[in-house]
């Protein structure tokens, strides 16, 4: 079984309003896949359908080898789910929650497994109400993987955490995959999180997957590299010299600054300086920046807005 999640045309409407409109997904074993989108895009709704909590209005899915509609109990045994808003009772201790969870999954030696998880996730057996946000989030994830699921679903795992807790949590997520081969499907509205953590990113907007690829691919395809030049001499002349080059996609001028969107490549700066030389233009400064997923996101939402306007 190579595909851990396979969904076709998954859709959900709430009282006539479409929250998710036909999502297709394929996730392979051992991948970390990110579901990236703004608030209200339909990330949580999709996750709740894939984890048997919500019945889809339309569509089919196989999760961890079991059909979502025909065999929800089979799906539940093989998946873990970490909800967006937390999952623990503040008046319980960490161990109480872990042991209950382990027993409900019929994990052999539930107390030992629970103590191992406390150690693995750097936690102490304390009342959950007295834990920090980062500790509580790590406990949520530990609860989601007590039974060593084939796939774990994480809904916005780091929203609201401080930078240190975020990067600690990222390490734990990577370790789940690297050490235990767990497939991870997470949602986020942070581009840097998708960039840092995911092998593959699906961008969801208004209930539809609008783009898909590795963070690198998306950046190359939609962002392009950016070169910023400052010119001392004739700006329009420099502009026309550069705009003609095959690897330059777009030129924007603000004052003496030219902002070029270019095809990614190592030789781009050499090419640009040669063209400026030939035109007799002297650059004052030249800066090459790789795009972030933010640029991808902006490019995408621009494209969507243009498509709607047309």
């Amino acid at each position: 079984m190579d595909h851990v999640i396979e969904a076709r045309g998954l859709a959900k409407s709430f009282a006539g309003a479409d929250a998710v409109r036909g999502v297709d997904l394929t996730v392979r074993a051992g991948e970390i896949v990110g579901f990236l989108g703004p608030n209200g895009a339909g990330k949580t709704t999709t996750l709740r359908m894939l984890t048997t909590l919500l019945r889809p209005t339309a569509g089919t899915a196989t999760v961890a080898g079991h059909d979502l509609i025909a065999d929800p109990a089979g799906v539940r045994r093989r998946i873990g789910y970490v909800a967006q808003g937390g999952s623990t009772n503040p008046s319980c201790t960490a161990l109480q929650e872990l042991v209950l969870q382990a027993r409900l999954y019929r994990t052999p030696d539930a107390p030992a497994r629970s103590r191992d998880l406390l150690a693995e996730f750097d936690l102490a057996d304390r009342p959950i109400g007295s834990m920090s946000g980062g500790q509580r989030r790590r406990l949520d994830i530990a609860l989601g993987v007590v039974h060593r699921p084939a796939v774990v679903f994480l809904d916005e795992p780091t929203t609201g955490l401080d930078p240190q807790s975020r990067s600690a949590l990222w390490d734990h997520v990577r370790r789940l995959r690297d050490r235990h081969g767990t497939t991870v499907f997470l949602t986020t509205h942070y581009l840097d999180e998708a960039d840092a953590l995911c092998d593959r990113v699906l961008i969801i907007d208004r209930g539809r997957v609008v783009e898909e690829g590795s963070p690198e691919e998306l950046k190359a395809r939609l962002g392009g590299d950016v070169v910023t030049l400052e010119i001392s001499g004739d700006v329009p002349h420099a502009r026309s010299a550069l705009a003609g080059l095959a690897s330059v996609r777009e030129v924007r001028v603000t004052g003496r600054t030219l902002r070029l969107t270019v095809a990614p490549g190592d030789r781009i700066l050499i090419e640009l300086t040669r063209a400026l030389d030939a035109a007799g233009v002297e650059p004052l400064s030249i800066q090459h920046t790789r795009p972030t997923l933010d640029d991808v996101f902006l490019a995408l939402t621009d494209r969507e807005a243009a498509a709607r306007a047309a």
Binding site: R55, S87, N89, L100, Q101, Y105
Partner: protein, 245 residues
């Protein structure tokens, strides 16, 4: 399913007993009733007022304690505990029954406490009558707790749950004749009272505690309690599993 029910029962029970605050205050009102209202009742009912009043307080407890059980599930829903449990393979029915069982056991503990306080004031009960009486409380408490959970999950609004539940529980309490005997009521009120299950519970409890085991009152009370429990648990599990498919 029985194993999951047992696991969830143990977990809930430990949590409830850990929260001694809630437990003490749960039983405080009925006990205060006993202490502050009981002696007064003696002036009107004579020396056997405790025999009438203690069963009434037990029914009051059975209405108030399991009747507000749904509050706890709304708390769990808010903290995401309910959703976490719903993604485990635990049977949906066990998620409900584990809780209902906890409420029932806690109620029995509180009932024993009320009886002990009553005994200190001079309330007397034969052992067989005591056991029958406690057994009578089980279906009433279990049924009411299941209804309370179903109502809470349908309502989903924590701030509305307590006021709306009280609007149901308090009239049930008054109509049951737990506090003042319904024998003094005008005909119409007596008729309305006879349409509520707890009326039969109170009378059966009084019969059991008085040692009138062969009376029709006791049989009727047991029958009504069991029918109520079956109906309430059916509604409760239907709602619970529908909301949690």
């Amino acid at each position: 399913m029985p194993r999951d029910t047992w696991l969830l029962f143990r977990h809930q029970l430990r949590l409830t007993l850990g929260g001694w605050f809630g437990l003490v205050f749960g039983v405080l009102q009925p006990v205060l009733n006993l202490v502050l209202f009981g002696p007064l009742l003696g002036t009107y009912l004579g020396h056997d007022s405790w025999q009438v009043f203690v069963p009434g307080v037990l029914i009051q407890l059975s209405l108030l304690s399991p009747g507000l059980a749904g509050f706890g599930i709304l708390f769990d829903a808010r903290f995401g505990v309910l959703e976490r449990l719903r993604v485990t393979p635990a049977s949906r029915l066990a998620l409900l029954l584990g809780r209902v069982l906890t409420n029932t056991v806690v109620l029995l503990g509180q009932a024993v406490l009320v009886i002990a306080v009553g005994a200190a004031f001079g309330f007397r009960v034969p052992v067989a009558g005591l056991l029958i009486g406690l057994a009578l409380l089980v279906p009433l408490a279990a049924g009411l707790a299941a209804l309370s959970y179903a109502f809470a999950l349908t309502l989903r609004r924590q701030e509305l749950f307590a006021p709306l539940s009280s609007t149901f529980v308090v009239p049930m309490l008054l109509l049951s004749g737990a506090l003042l005997p319904m024998s003094a009521a005008p005909g119409w009120l007596d008729a309305v009272s006879r349409a509520t299950p707890f009326r039969y519970g109170v009378e059966a409890l009084r019969a059991a505690f008085a040692g009138r085991y062969a009376s029709g009152t006791l049989t009727a009370g047991l029958a009504v309690s069991v029918v109520f429990a079956v109906a309430a648990l059916t509604i409760g599990t239907r709602t619970f599993t529908r909301r949690h498919s």
